[in-house]
């Protein structure tokens, strides 16, 4: 019974935890994506994310987003005046054929929050 009571707490701690190893700015959404092994893979994701309703495409030149293949991270600059629908970004990555595993945010500037993406999209 005790184990059952602890389960929701454990899930919450996994779902939303602090991650200090990554630098995420207040106006960024960072996705950790599995399967992104080459430039052509990342191009498909970039093309999809360029249509995001809350993308701030003035922050990064040329591509709108930043891709780091070494760390499998995608940095999405966001327009904080708009509604930020994280699920929209995760769905675009899924439509491109890849899996978002974690979402990192720091909207309040108090530290990086790490969320399990599969909890959003199922």
């Amino acid at each position: 019974m005790k184990k059952l009571l602890l389960l929701p707490l454990l899930l919450c701690s996994i779902l939303l935890s602090q991650d200090s190893s990554l630098n995420v700015e207040k106006d960024e959404l960072v996705l950790e994506v599995n399967g992104m092994v080459c430039g052509m893979c990342a191009f498909g994701i970039q093309e999809g994310l360029s249509e995001l309703s809350f993308l701030n495409n003035k922050k990064f030149e040329e591509d709108g987003i930043e891709v780091d293949l070494d760390t499998q991270m995608i940095y999405i600059p966001i327009d904080i005046s708009k509604t930020i629908d994280q699920l929209e970004a995760v769905q675009i990555v899924k439509d491109a054929g890849y899996d978002t595993v974690f979402i990192y945010t720091n909207f309040d500037g108090k530290g990086v929050k790490k969320a399990v993406a599969t909890k959003l999209i199922g």
Partner: protein, 181 residues
């Protein structure tokens, strides 16, 4: 198969065939397009509607594996007879190595074509950089109990949505151009 809504133009000139493809990925696991190709062993040409279905994809950190079902239906441009092809494509790749196997059956001459690749890049590059891969490619086209076998070294140059491959030996040449948009 690329990203949902993405289109591809793909030109291949291999020792066994010249192949031109244009198509669109409609969902994350379904591609459909037009394919025009010529089989060199008998100089017969075809136009087909071809469909690729992503049967299973495994995405892990820094690697990916796929199994695709391939099919096409169309016409022999010389005899105007109908034809179809079915096939299976499987691959695994990470940022340094890639292996691939494709097998296709062609109804018009009951032939089977195998295409295998092993590739590696000596230098892992970032998203915006030009990536160069060295590929060993093996073809086997089995027609009327005869095997047309080819082994070719190929160099792949890749930058974002552009891909060029070229290779050859003393007898054969190989060239590919692909663009995603």
């Amino acid at each position: 198969m690329i990203f949902k809504g993405g289109k591809v133009v793909w030109l291949i000139d291999s020792p066994n065939a010249t192949d031109i493809r244009f198509g669109k990925t409609f969902t994350r696991n379904f591609y459909s397009g037009i394919r025009i190709f010529n089989h060199k062993h008998n100089d017969e040409s075809f136009i087909t509607s071809n469909n690729n279905l992503l049967i299973k994809r495994w995405n892990t950190s820094s690697s990916q594996a796929n199994i695709y079902g391939l099919s096409s239906i169309g016409l022999n441009l010389d005899s105007e007879e109908s034809m179809y092809s079915v096939g299976l494509h499987s691959d695994w790749e990470n940022r340094q190595f890639m292996v691939m196997h494709m097998v296709e059956y062609f109804s018009y001459d009951e032939s089977i074509m195998h295409n295998m690749r092993f590739a590696f890049t000596p230098k892992i590059t970032g998203y915006k950089d030009v990536s160069v891969w060295l590929i060993g490619q093996y073809y086997n086209h089995e027609v009327d109990n005869k095997n047309y076998e080819k082994i070719l070294p190929v160099i792949r140059v890749l930058n974002k949505n552009y891909l060029i491959e070229f290779g050859g030996n003393s007898n054969d040449t190989f060239l590919t151009f692909m663009i995603h948009f």
